[in-house]
Symmetry: C3
Subunit: 211 residues, 3 copies
């Protein structure tokens, strides 16, 4: 039975909970790392980690009218603070940039599926559910870039938002086709990750308009 | 009977529906055109079109506590995708800039009235309803400019936000005075469009502070 | 009895109402002053005043699921318009910058406490309530800076967000420890103001990462 009719977000949680924390942690670390590169203070580390970690899911929840997922509990914000502290203490700026990019690719694919799944479970129709997946995966990073005064990933030709879109489209399509939420989620996330991996490994980019 | 007491947004919809789609399409096209000028990819076209097309109404709905108008249906987002695709395929970058500016002026005036009308129908008092009209008409374009890293219309002296404010003030004032929502809406939109037209035609701008 | 269990925001209002208007007015004036420095028009004055004055509390209310505090009444928006008009007429650009910085320090400390208190009264747990205090105090100014295309306070090493964090942490901690909301609020605001005052007076800044 497709997620659109059968599944509430509560029922999906056991499946997604691990991915969820991991996604928040990875994005929070990427925010803290952006702060480290610009030699910011510990307070800016924490702010960037929180905004990047929970920003996408926050916008999704506001748009679909759900309670914002991290506000009435302490764990998600705690994960962001731990990620910020870890990057500060462990000399996060010395990590190979690769490592973060690959972790970020995992987070991107997982988040696109999680965002679309939560939207479907609230009764959002397919096209808007795909948009929610894309927003959940990419909005935190966009806000981080705007706050930091850097050109956002939107303005680069890198395949990034596209990979989130692919993950969400495949997930929503398979779910509608009756594949079951586990299969749809795994295949969707794998497709999005694979596209991002190809882009990272061979430096593939989308063509610009009328170049 | 004034809109403040007599009209729900449902009753106003037949009147406003056509303007509504037209406004979303015009703003979405202006977002896609901004992407075309910067030679962005098709994914950025779609993102800019959606943000610019539905951004203002989204903020209005969040602020007044209404369900966000485009999330639980597919038509508005579909209109944005079609506008993005049309600009991409039809060489939108070759359109005369004038054409878009004039279309945008229609959208601006219509949106300011629509935004104020929805706010009034939710029981928002006059001053805040005017603010909602201004936000609905101008916020999408502001976000587009911030994301694109360009100076927003707020920072220019052009009569743009002022035209939206005039449309909203005239509409709210006439509605309160008992003119009826159709008359108030048409006169308000006409006043806002006229002011914007004067600004475009004779290049009129507001004075800066203590110049 | 701690605020977390005993107090609704309605009960806290008599205590906080004066501070509340003062905070909105101070922040609105700082927004209008930013517009004056860049020689913007009266419309941009009003826009910047409103965004800076009510921005932080707006985000807080959206996140905790409360009705946005200024939308269904006219007084807060009216205070912002008056502040914008006053800065325009009174040659706000000639005020000593100091004066505004010190007023802003009062607003920052008061707002951090007010934001955390409202969050606690809605049942938000301590860590997230501190985050709400910080956001309420700092978000309006961040949006003002982003819209104006200037580096936000987040990117400077000044002790600003940190002072808001201290005020919120002290308030929430004392309230949880049973100090009573009046004592907790006064001590929290005083601690935040004192830290900001030290930073302003002796030009103290936080160390950047691995400088």
């Amino acid at each position: 039975m497709p997620l659109t009719t059968a599944l509430t977000i509560e029922a999906a949680r056991p499946l997604l909970a691990g991915l969820d924390y991991a996604g928040v942690a990875v994005f929070a670390a990427s925010g803290a790392l952006a702060a480290a590169r610009a030699k910011h203070t510990i307070v800016t580390f924490a702010f960037f980690a929180a905004v990047t970690g929970v920003g996408g899911g926050t916008l999704r929840d506001l748009l679909i009218g759900a309670p914002v997922f991290w506000v009435y509990r302490s764990d998600y914000l705690g994960v962001c603070m731990i990620a910020a502290g870890a990057v500060w203490l462990l000399r996060g700026d010395r990590f190979r940039e690769d490592a973060l990019l690959w972790l970020d690719a995992v987070g991107l694919a997982a988040y696109a599926v999680i965002g679309a799944a939560k939207a479907l479970s609230y009764g959002v129709p397919p096209l808007a559910a795909v948009a929610m997946g894309v927003l959940t995966a990419s909005f935190g990073g966009i806000v981080r870039d705007v706050l930091a005064g850097q050109p956002s990933v939107l303005l680069r030709r890198e395949i990034y938002v596209s990979a989130a879109a692919l993950a969400a489209v495949v997930f929503v399509g398979l779910d509608l086709a009756g594949a079951g939420v586990e299969v749809a989620g795994l295949v969707g996330a794998a497709a999005g990750f694979a596209l991002r991996a190809v882009a990272l490994r061979w430096n593939v980019a989308l063509p610009g308009y009328r170049d």
